[in-house]
């Protein structure tokens, strides 16, 4: 122990500038990441504002009682989180790979550049703005979609009252926003494929389709698998910015759109239930951690360099 302190102290003197450089960053992680981690004990306490995280009295597993009392709605929220994420991961990945493969087939440089910049653009817009876009299309009275429906002689639909449509709407908006940006990652992977494979395939008279199927797709399969695994590691987290931005407090849509993150937020801000929201948040963090850990272990097997740790 004394030796360790001695080693640290001599390093402190020797590399004093390096310590100085990491100090603000370390302070940041301490305050905004590690202090909240220690704050997890709130899940086992009866939180009182005046006593704070560490002063409030313990109440055992009382905060977890909602699991037995409110099982149905908890299961619904977990289902929505998993279901929406599976749709996003599956459809988003497929579209991003297809887009990357097709961009790679385009030879006109100016066309490639312009179309690529346009499809990446949605990524830089916040979900709040996307919500305004959605409002433009889906508003019952003035919305473009209902305008078209009426033009075809059909009834307009109250999109903001009809929960059953929202998984589709969310997937469309998610794809609109993310596919162009994500396709660049796959395009980078395609660029890394050995060109000789294509040349020898051409000599053998392979068609473009066969080259895509037998060279391009296998060539990026490692990237696809790694990104899939990392996405699966985060499957227990809903995209709060997206869901709350689009759905907000519209309870008519909760049955298909409410995810763990929005549920926790509401429990905290609207119901002011610190106990329950911290308990469910703890469960989410622990399950999320285990999943990320497992996903990382699998990624390590495929490609040591791409693993997170």
């Amino acid at each position: 122990m004394r030796r360790a302190v001695h080693v640290l102290f001599s390093d402190l003197v020797k590399n004093k500038f390096l310590y100085l450089l990491v100090l603000p960053g370390l302070a940041y992680f301490l305050l905004f990441s590690y202090l909240p981690m220690a704050g997890i004990i709130v899940a086992f306490k009866e939180y009182r504002m005046d006593l704070g995280i560490f002063g409030s009295p313990f109440n055992g597993l009382d905060n977890f009682r909602f699991l037995t009392v409110d099982t149905a709605s908890v299961l619904k929220v977990i289902f929505n989180t998993l279901f929406l994420n599976i749709l996003f991961i599956g459809i988003g990945t497929a579209l991003a790979v297809i887009t990357a493969v097709l961009i790679n087939e385009i030879r006109l440089t100016w066309f490639k550049k312009i179309s690529q910049s346009l499809i990446i653009l949605p990524n830089f817009i916040s979900w709040i703005i996307v919500a305004v876009f959605a409002y433009n299309f889906l508003n019952t009275d003035f919305g473009i979609l209902n305008g078209w429906l009426k033009g075809l002689g059909m009834e307009g639909v109250s999109w903001y009252n009809r929960a059953e449509f929202w998984p589709v709407i969310l997937v469309l908006l998610y794809s609109w926003k993310s596919v162009g940006f994500n396709s660049i990652i796959y395009l980078a992977a395609i660029t890394g494929i050995d060109q000789e494979q294509y040349e020898s395939a051409s000599l053998d008279g392979a068609s473009k389709f066969r080259k895509i199927w037998h060279i391009t797709i296998p060539g990026i399969s490692k990237t696809i698998i790694i990104l899939l695994l990392l996405a699966i590691g985060r499957i227990f987290y809903g995209d709060f910015g997206m869901i709350y931005g689009l759905v907000g407090d519209n309870s008519l849509l909760f049955s298909t759109t409410d995810v763990i993150d929005t549920y926790v937020f509401r429990a905290l801000r609207t119901l002011n239930d610190v106990g329950m929201s911290s308990a469910i948040g703890l469960l989410q963090s622990v399950i999320g951690f285990l999943l990320v850990f497992a996903a990382n272990a699998v990624v390590r097997k495929y490609d040591k360099d791409s693993a997170l740790f």
């Binding site: 590399n15 305050l31 905004f32 499809i119 653009l121 830089f124 916040s126 003035f142 907000g248 951690f289």
Partner: protein, 294 residues
């Protein structure tokens, strides 16, 4: 000699058609917003929103940019947060990334792990909220929109691997000439890491400009609302945008409600759209860096 078969031509043609359609889908929402912001309110009430404007009117913009409008204040908040936040984030992220890139420093491994771990596990919303509002007193404070985003662990690690790519012998030579680590960072690493820095800088700037989560959590004072949260407030309740102009002679009925929502949105995306053509190549480069080693 390459021979083009019908199926090869089909795939090439399909690629062009697909990209044209995708590009159109990507920009149509922007066009409808601009179109609606320029359309007369009466016309909207009668015919609904449209992709192209019919008779152009600037009434909504005049209203939004008029005296006493809340939007100008929110614009100021967002601008200050974006500029100050990005500079601050860049400074401390680069400092830490440089120190952690020094392979011969044995503390770089444990400190890197401290950073990694925050990407895997977090305390969740509630402890975070209690810490930031009760212990750090960030509630209704402009710093609440900056400090919690001061470092993004992913950006830090990307920048670290970027700086690690610099040839170590340059640093060794400077050290022999008597340079200390701070000199190495500012005189040698920064100029050589410029493309990486530009990318990370853009990522930070965009995330500050687009943020509303922090404001939703920590800001209840309306004067401190950033643009994004203001748009949320306006789209759910138009009377708020009108509140500043309540004393003026404009009757509530004459407010171009839909136009005001859209004009505010256009003003919010404006800077991104205007800068985008110039910055686009950095985004692409940055993504490629990020995907090579995430």
């Amino acid at each position: 000699m390459k021979t083009k078969t019908a199926s090869d031509k089909f795939i090439a043609g399909f690629a062009y058609v697909y990209m044209i359609l995708f590009a159109i889908v990507a920009i149509i929402p922007f066009m409808t917003i601009i179109s609606t912001s320029l359309t007369d309110e009466q016309y909207i009430r009668a015919n609904g929103f449209d992709i192209f404007p019919h008779e152009v009117t600037w009434a909504a913009y005049k209203y939004v940019l008029g005296r006493g409008s809340a939007i100008l204040g929110a614009y100021q908040v967002t601008l200050v947060v974006t500029v100050v936040g990005t500079l601050f984030s860049m400074l401390i992220t680069t400092m830490m990334a440089f120190a952690l890139s020094r392979k011969e420093w044995k503390m770089s491994v444990p400190i890197s792990f401290i950073v990694y771990f925050t990407m895997l596990f977090n305390g969740g919303l509630v402890p975070w909220y209690i810490v930031t509002s009760k212990y750090l007193h960030l509630h209704d404070n402009l710093l609440a929109l900056i400090l919690p985003y001061a470092i993004n662990a992913f950006n830090l690690l990307v920048l670290r691997s970027f700086i690690s790519g610099i040839d170590n012998s340059i640093f060794e030579a400077a050290k022999i000439d008597g340079a200390n680590d701070i000199h190495l960072l500012f005189r040698i690493a920064l100029p050589l890491a410029l493309p990486g820095l530009a990318t990370i800088c853009l990522f930070y700037a965009i995330s500050y400009w687009n943020d509303w989560w922090l404001a939703l959590m920590l800001i209840s004072e309306r004067d401190l609302y950033p643009l994004q949260l203001l748009i949320r407030a306006i789209t759910s309740n138009i009377s708020y945008a009108a509140s500043g102009a309540a004393n003026s002679s404009i009757a509530a009925a004459s407010i171009p409600k839909e136009g005001v929502k859209m004009a505010t949105t256009v003003l919010t995306i404006g800077p991104i759209i205007l800068l985008y053509p110039f910055l686009q190549r950095y985004f692409v480069k940055g993504l490629t860096i990020g995907s090579v080693k995430g």
